[in-house]
Assembly symmetry: C2
Homo-oligomer: 455 residues x 2
């Protein structure tokens, strides 16, 4: 019996085990669940050890993480499997149809907090390894596990842990299943993430709020000044006007563009899902390209003057905004912060004082499309899901992926087993039972395919 048959035969057992893990309320953001988070970590470490993969619960200064390692042979690739066993809070509890930590099966789904994000997807990789160990007595390549406990917490010590354990975590490629397929029954491999650069901008005019009757007309209004500056960030084609902003922007290869063209996509459905009256964006690019391979500039917030009920007739002393820019390869967060600051200083009139706080941000991530990893992963998905995967990107950042790239120097394969409609972070979180089992089989196939990649 091969690993895939093993998984097929043990589906009920796999699901029962996952339910065990789902019963632990390991909410990392809530200190009263601190022990539960650790208990979930111990559950994972115990499971790995029972399989024969040496694992331990490691202190990070925050919630602990689990590190496991299986050594096969130095000439074979080493795969680092990342996942997390902590979960989101459950509020608002009254919107849950069932108890969040009492998993039930309904209409082909398992329902419980954390089932798709990320306990179910993470556990699928434990099952993939198990299938090999139980049927062949070993894994086909070197495998390391980094399963953490504060992915859903606001602060995390994992970055520091990775920096302090570079050798222990060294690998050739990272495998992460903590997301969705492109669509229902449309598995995908994500090979890139946008980066981000963040600045806070404040303009100050008068020393305090002035009476807009007595002073209005002779004193510049900081809100209007700021608005005029923000209005100069895009031209009429949705192109960003900051000088040299696009200097290092990569151009997607024809292969990449071909992948996006293959994706089932309805602009109208996309628009409807947001509720926006009309789509917008940089001319010459499709919405997916605008989201994935083009840099953007958004105001995340703006504030100034009186915002309560009714009116207050003032010229406010100041106004401020938070601006984030999404970056694509090869833009550098701090360079972009410098460029927007230079532009803001250039266009800011001398009727106000300008302050710019540059926070830097995250570097964009791109998995090499020439290398062997994407192809190997694609074959594994074909095996596990019975379908050719799509190749996609993601418009946001996943900090840990950037850390793997910058600290460990390795690419990450993002292979989501879930669906976008799984209610991750919402009440009634669910994970298709079918997707769980397909995930387990994909994991086993991945170990096989990745083991064949020449180091």
């Amino acid at each position: 019996m091969g690993p895939l048959d093993y998984l097929k035969e043990h589906e009920n057992e796999s699901m029962a085990q996952l339910k065990d893990l789902l019963r632990i309320p390991s909410i990392s953001a809530q200190s009263e669940h601190k022990d539960d988070v650790r208990r979930a970590g111990k559950w994972v470490a115990d499971y790995l050890n029972k399989l024969g993969i040496k694992a331990e619960v490691c202190e990070t200064g925050g919630h602990p993480c689990v590190v496991g390692e299986y050594k096969k042979a130095a000439n074979l690739p080493t795969v680092l499997i990342y996942g997390h066993y902590d979960v989101q809070p459950v509020d608002p509890l009254n919107l849950w149809k069932t108890a969040p930590f009492e998993p039930i099966e309904e209409n082909g789904y398992i329902i419980a907090r954390g089932c798709t994000d990320d306990k179910g997807q993470m556990f699928a990789h434990l099952k993939g390894a198990e299938a090999y160990l139980k049927t062949t007595g070993s894994l086909p390549c070197n495998v390391k596990f980094l399963i953490e406990g504060e992915e859903e917490a606001s602060a995390s010590k994992l970055d520091e842990f990775i920096k302090n354990n570079k050798d222990r975590l060294a690998a050739d490629v990272v495998l992460v299943s903590d997301g969705s397929q492109y669509g229902n029954d449309l598995p995908a491999i994500n090979f890139g993430l946008r980066g981000i650069a963040f600045v806070e901008v404040k303009v100050t005019g008068p020393a305090k709020d002035l009476h807009s009757g007595s002073y209005g007309g002779a004193i510049a209004n900081p809100i209007i000044v700021l608005c005029k500056m923000i209005a100069q960030m895009h031209d009429e084609n949705g192109h960003i006007t900051i000088p040299d902003f696009y200097d290092n922007v990569y151009t997607a290869t024809q292969w990449e563009k071909d992948q996006y063209a293959k994706l089932p996509f309805s602009a109208e459905e996309y628009r409807t899902s947001t509720g926006a009256p009309k789509l917008w964006g940089e001319k010459g690019f499709s919405p997916l390209e605008q989201n994935w391979i083009r840099p953007t500039l958004d105001c995340n917030g703006i504030t100034g003057g009186y915002q309560g009920e009714g009116g207050k007739t003032i010229i406010p002393s100041w106004a401020s905004t938070k601006i984030t820019m999404r970056l694509v390869p090869n833009m550098k967060p701090m360079e972009i912060c410098d460029k927007i600051e230079a532009y803001l200083r250039k266009i800011c009139p001398d009727t106000v004082k300008l302050e710019v706080v540059k926070h830097g941000g995250a570097t964009p991530v791109q998995v090499s499309t020439d290398g062997p990893w994407l192809e190997a992963a694609a074959r594994a998905i074909k095996t596990g899901f019975g379908k050719e995967p799509f190749f996609t990107k993601e418009g946001g950042s996943i900090p840990v992926v950037e850390t793997f790239k910058t600290v460990l120097g390795i690419d990450t394969l993002l292979v989501g087993f879930g669906q976008q409609t799984d209610n991750a972070h919402s009440p009634n979180e669910r994970f298709a039972i079918k997707d769980f089992h397909r995930g387990c089989r994909t994991s086993a196939a991945l170990l096989d395919e990745l083991s064949k990649v020449k180091k």
Copy 2:
């Protein structure tokens, strides 16, 4: 002995009486002082009745007001004297050097809450009438008093009271002393106020906040859309770009411009007093003209998205702003609201939904510069202050002045006895003892001068 000599001789008595009134903590905004406000009203009514001016405390539905009337002869002018006996709250109390309701004299000032705003200035008019009654046995013209008790409260029933008592309050001119001289020792007559029009503007894009990574680039950002709209409200000369906005704007007469040219004014001192790095404004007009005789557009507040500490990577669902425009004769508040709405609808892109709430506002007020009232008031100030007054305007609105104009159909003479440095609405409110007595004398002289105006 004439009225002016009487006032000279009774200065100590006048000050002692004013202190009596200042000891009543008639804070209209605080319900625990409700009885104190009424007590101050009764004090004023009693004072008038003792002089032989028939007065009563009248119910308004809010704090009461005092109405008094002295009938002289039908062929003589009727002067309506307006003032208020309620005062601002005293917080922050710890910044007061003396107890707010225990008036003391120091360095030529009386210090107490309400001394300049408006008990002292209002009481000067009671003393002016008293001087006539005590020395001549009568007043030189018909005089009505409307002394109210909720000028400093957020809501007021006075407008309604005036509408319901049109005949009782009918007069030829209103006299208000509830402000400042143009500068220290620079008495002035204010002959005009700007009006105001208020709109609230909201643009909504997506139905809820979206992840700026996943959606950024393909969905218009409501903050940026709103900023672009606000940026289109002024051209590079500070001129407002709303179509037809200046349609009915009056042009100041040469006489008016001559008055402003006479005023001592330092643009640098003015700028320094605001703390703004540089003055701004519509090209072709001086700062005083920009403040007094030109319409303006200001954003009093703007809000949208995340405004807390740190960042939140969203495309916010909506953004909104509060816009007020200051109006000059002959602009109409609701017409201006209609014009800005039409313009906003024209420039708003279809990537967002636009909502405009039109609040209307206050009509600008202008005392006829051809009529006899200004000249008569100027002569009275010359008598009371020993100096020729300046003629000024005010950039803000005083709602009751508009009510006198629209409901009673009469002009208001604004003759402030105080100084801009009197700390009205602030701790350590003060009123120069010299200004109080000059105010009393000016009031007596005003009755004389106004009585000579041909009806």
